[in-house]
């Protein structure tokens, strides 16, 4: 799980162009949206694309996004549970 979290942080930094952010700056349990990383709605769409592109996971129900993208840890957990 820790390895996946570390990998995911790198992918998010790259995909979302978070040039001033380092992996160690991202708290595993901090909110991705609002506080924490302060991501916006376009970033949410990018995260959905990232899941599909890198892990083959389609988020079929947009309402699930709120839970999946709560934090890095919830996202990693979702990947671990649904990776094909």
């Amino acid at each position: 799980m820790n390895e996946l979290i570390d990998k995911l942080k790198g992918e998010i930094i790259e995909q979302l162009n978070l040039e001033d952010v380092k992996k160690e700056d991202i708290d595993n349990d901090a909110p991705l949206f609002g506080e924490g990383l302060g991501l916006d709605s376009i970033d949410a769409l990018e995260l959905i694309v990232l899941l599909e592109k890198n892990y083959g996971i389609k988020v079929a129900n947009p309402a699930d996004g709120k839970k999946i993208f709560q934090s890095i840890r919830t996202m990693a957990q979702y990947i671990q549970d649904n990776k094909k």
Binding site: N17, I42, D43, E46, V49, K53
Partner: protein
């Protein structure tokens, strides 16, 4: 009320140099690629805007030019948000990012268009970025020309100010395509600023050489 309007300040970013009101404020490293140069300017001035790195190169270029232009001529402190217009033009529209977007959709087997790229596939997004940053709500228009059309630009903006549709304007030319870049943004007001030039095509071409 006089119908004379003035170019009150300007910022030009081209050929590795930042020129604000006829003073070279920053020079990039020799042979620095345009995206790296633009980021160098951003870091040099410590502009610190979280959305900067999410922007495409056209918006980054125009955003920096607007920041440096307005740094010492804060229109939002002199005018209501609705009284400030933004009129920008360029020659390449958003082709740089359009091409990047096209590459993400050209292979049906590897079809992953990026929403963050797609949102920049219109040149007037640059106007939106400047408006959001400065909370400007006035008239705005983005034109596409072969080259900077001083005659049209002067006439159009003077008309906006003289008809009362705006009291001031952020105007100019911001172009970025295939390694070529050029930003020339200036402010137009009814009173003179540090640049003592009437807002005419002739004066514009004197500054934009």
């Amino acid at each position: 009320m006089s119908d004379v309007n003035y170019i009150s300040a300007f910022c030009r970013i081209s050929s590795g140099k930042v020129n604000v009101n006829h003073s070279i404020m920053f020079t990039g490293e020799q042979d620095e690629a345009p995206p790296a140069f633009i980021k160098s300017v951003y870091k040099h001035y410590q502009l610190n805007y979280p959305k900067f790195y999410k922007m495409d190169s056209l918006c980054q270029l125009g955003f920096i030019a607007s920041e440096l232009l307005l740094k010492d001529n804060k229109l939002t402190e002199k005018y209501n948000k609705e009284e400030i217009a933004i009129v920008i033009s360029n020659g390449s529209s958003s082709l740089e990012i359009d091409t990047e977007h096209q590459q993400t959709i050209s292979d049906k087997a590897n079809y992953f268009p990026s929403p963050a790229v797609f949102v920049y596939t219109l040149p007037n997004i640059l106007i939106g970025e400047i408006a959001i940053r400065n909370l400007i709500k006035g008239e705005n228009t983005f034109f596409i020309f072969d080259k900077f059309d001083a005659q049209f630009t002067a006439q159009y903006i003077n008309s906006l100010l003289n008809s009362g549709r705006a009291e001031s304007c952020i105007a100019g030319w911001v172009d970025f395509y295939e390694g070529n870049y050029d930003a020339f943004l200036y402010t137009v007001e009814k009173t003179q600023g540090v640049i003592r030039a009437e807002h005419t095509a002739e004066q514009l071409l004197n500054i934009y050489k």
